[in-house]
């Protein structure tokens, strides 16, 4: 059994490496190619890379992708943990309902969801109508639609199920008798969460943060439809560079720069996760040290 798994590992790894690396290699080659008329010529021209590094617009778009991803990775757990804990406590017979409620919005398609949110957030939308009816505002709040905030609200909604799923899986595997033992030993529910539940479900949290970061940083559609004047993303820029502008080297360089930045962020998150675990152990050890 074990021997077979080891024997099958190299071909699988090779296949994955080919599929993942081939397009990247192609992009890397294109990014240093030179445009001659309407064709690309193989070269070692760093013009595109220099342009990416020098352009405040492109650096801003990469920064915006990181910003969206990071904000979502940090905020979704705040809503996802309570939901996941409640789902884990739901009796087996009712869990399917939780799963359906959680996943149904994902089946409706992204465009439908985004337009639904426009109805909610617009000047004549539900939220403004409710606030006006309640007498809390005199004029509709315009900041809710066609801003970065509105893009973030919709992305938060779109990515939340993924965060809940990741944490839910971890919380289901968590032995609730440990929480009971912690209560017995004097921990309040919040302390139980902070010192027992959270450390023991951290794997799910970090997995969810990785997924949500990637979804948020890589989402072009939501900012385009919800962001208004701020709807440009690195992705939309890459698309127009590949298409209308016919600047494949610049598109490739921007794409690679974006990818390397995001990969760096995920690597940093992983390192941080490892360090957080080690330092938690160290400080706990100091507290309990003989």
């Amino acid at each position: 059994m074990k021997a077979r798994r080891e024997a099958s590992a190299p071909p699988v790894a090779l296949f994955a490496a080919l599929c993942g690396l081939a397009p990247l290699v192609a992009m890397a080659v294109v990014s240093v190619a030179r445009i001659e008329g309407y064709t690309l010529a193989l070269a070692l021209d760093l013009r595109a890379w220099r342009e990416v590094a020098a352009s405040p617009v492109m650096r801003g778009l990469i920064g915006q992708a990181v910003f969206y991803g990071a904000i979502l990775a940090c905020l979704t757990p705040l809503a996802a943990y309570p939901i996941a804990l409640a789902l884990a406590r739901t009796p087996m017979a009712w869990k399917w309902l939780g799963a359906v409620v959680l996943l149904t919005p994902l089946y409706t398609g992204e465009i439908v969801r985004i337009y639904a949110w426009r109805l909610m957030l617009g000047a004549q939308g539900l939220i403004n109508a409710a606030l006006g009816w309640a007498g809390l505002i005199e004029a509709p709040v315009q900041a809710l639609l066609y801003t970065r905030l509105s893009a973030l609200i919709v992305m938060f909604y779109n990515t939340l199920p993924f965060m809940v799923l990741a944490i839910w899986a971890a919380v289901e595997a968590f032995d609730r008798r440990l929480a009971e033992a912690a209560r017995d030993l004097g921990a309040s529910p919040w302390v139980v969460f902070r010192r027992v539940t959270l450390p023991l479900t951290r794997v799910g949290l970090f997995a969810g943060m990785g997924v949500v970061f990637a979804l948020g940083a890589g989402d072009a559609l939501t900012p385009a439809l919800m962001g208004g004047a701020n709807g440009a993303t690195a992705m939309s820029m890459i698309e127009s560079l590949f298409g209308a502008a016919f600047d494949w080297p610049l598109a490739s360089a921007l794409g690679l720069a974006l990818m390397l930045t995001l990969a760096g962020c995920v690597a940093a998150l992983t390192l941080l996760a490892g360090r957080a675990r080690r330092s938690a152990r160290r400080s706990a050890r100091r507290r309990g040290k003989i």
């Binding site: 032995d175 008798r177 440990l178 009971e180 033992a181 912690a182 209560r183 017995d184 030993l185 004097g186 921990a187 309040s188 302390v191 010192r195 027992v196 450390p199 023991l200 152990r281 706990a284 050890r285 100091r286 507290r287 309990g288 040290k289 003989i290």
Partner: protein, 356 residues
């Protein structure tokens, strides 16, 4: 005559505890007193409600009816973290992400204790359960017996008024169990705290307890010292659940002054009896193996149907028609043969068929 010794102060008082899960009653009115510094055992078959009583004491379940006080103060509505009660769980429930020392320190670190004091008390407590050498290990690197000791250390370090133990020895092998029983009893006497122990193992209950409460089907059938419960079981269920031997059904024909004439499968006998028995009551006659011996001059003739070698002697099953008795024998009994059987009737006991 001396004044009666002062009854020990009652630490925990439960009255009329009722608990249902859906329509199923789990506790049907449990009264329970736990004396200070006592080792109290709840003994009964699985499903009798003993663990539910423990979970109510710990604060993990709320009773549907009844009262519960600790030192005279009601515990109802008090969450587990605010009770001076700690539990050693059947599964041990050690925190897998913390070392042994961190597990044991956990209750103290919640109270903003000074780290020097925490370290000193953790070391002291780990020494008390002889786990000081394993302070930096993680729980998954420990054997069952070691995990059990860590769970014990973690539960006593906060000096609870009552320590609850939910079948903590049931997952261990026989030798480790016997060893830990001795340690547990010694620890309880050293700490001078009330321990409430839940088990279905009567040997364990006898070895450890000052007081035993025998439970069945959501009720306490009998409370008393182990010797009392063994010698004078309250009814046929307790007699059958505790110890070995035979419980024969019959009827009381005459009763007076703690003795009764019992009409059963071996004819009329007169033996010590439960005081409340009256003539005409359905009753049970309790014969322990030590009350029955093989004796050629014995009054009864019975057939040896089985014999089990138990090291120091043989335990044999005897039968006379439908009636089965158990006896101890030093010599290997002749299996299948008819033997003379003598019964030490003065040491047997006649009790109620079902609890009054």
């Amino acid at each position: 005559m001396d004044a009666a010794p002062e009854a020990p102060a009652q630490l925990v008082r439960a009255r009329g505890l009722v608990k249902r899960y859906g329509a199923t009653p789990v506790l049907r009115g449990v009264d329970l007193d736990i004396a200070e510094r006592s080792f109290t055992t709840l003994l009964g078959p699985s499903g009798c409600g003993k663990t539910t009583v423990l979970r109510i004491l710990g604060g993990f379940e709320a009773p549907d009816a009844g009262s519960l006080t600790l030192n005279g103060v009601s515990l109802l509505g008090v969450p587990p973290e605010r009770r001076h009660v700690n539990t050693v769980f059947q599964s041990y429930a050690l925190f897998p992400h913390l070392t042994v020392a961190q597990n044991v320190a956990f209750p103290l670190t919640l109270r903003r204790a000074r780290s020097v004091d925490v370290a000193r008390r953790v070391a002291q407590t780990l020494r008390a359960v002889r786990m000081a050498d394993h302070a930096d290990r993680y729980p998954d690197a420990l054997s069952g017996g070691q995990q059990q000791r860590v769970a014990l250390a973690r539960a006593i370090i906060g000096e609870p008024l009552v320590l609850l133990l939910d079948e903590p020895l049931s997952a261990l092998d026989r030798q480790m169990r016997a060893h830990l029983q001795t340690e547990l009893r010694a620890l309880q006497q050293r700490l001078r705290r009330a321990f409430v122990f839940v088990t279905h193992d009567q040997e364990e209950a006898f070895a450890l307890s000052d007081a035993i409460h025998v439970m069945n089907a959501g009720r306490i059938l009998q409370s008393g010292a182990p010797q009392e419960i063994y010698a004078r079981p309250a009814d046929a269920f307790v007699a059958g659940f505790i110890g070995e031997g035979a419980v024969l059904a019959g009827r009381v024909t005459r009763a007076h002054g703690g003795r009764a004439v019992f009409d059963g499968p071996l004819g009329l006998i007169e033996a010590p009896a439960a005081p409340a028995l009256a003539a005409g009551d359905a009753a049970a006659w309790v014969l322990r193996p030590e009350h029955v011996r093989l004796d050629p001059q014995g009054a009864h003739r019975m057939v040896v149907t089985a014999a089990t070698f138990s090291g120091d002697r043989y335990l044999c099953a005897l039968s006379l028609g439908e009636t089965q008795l158990r006896a101890r024998s030093d010599a290997p009994p002749p299996q299948g043969a008819e033997v003379g059987v003598a019964i030490d009737i003065a040491r047997t006991y006649v009790t109620h068929a079902a609890a009054p």
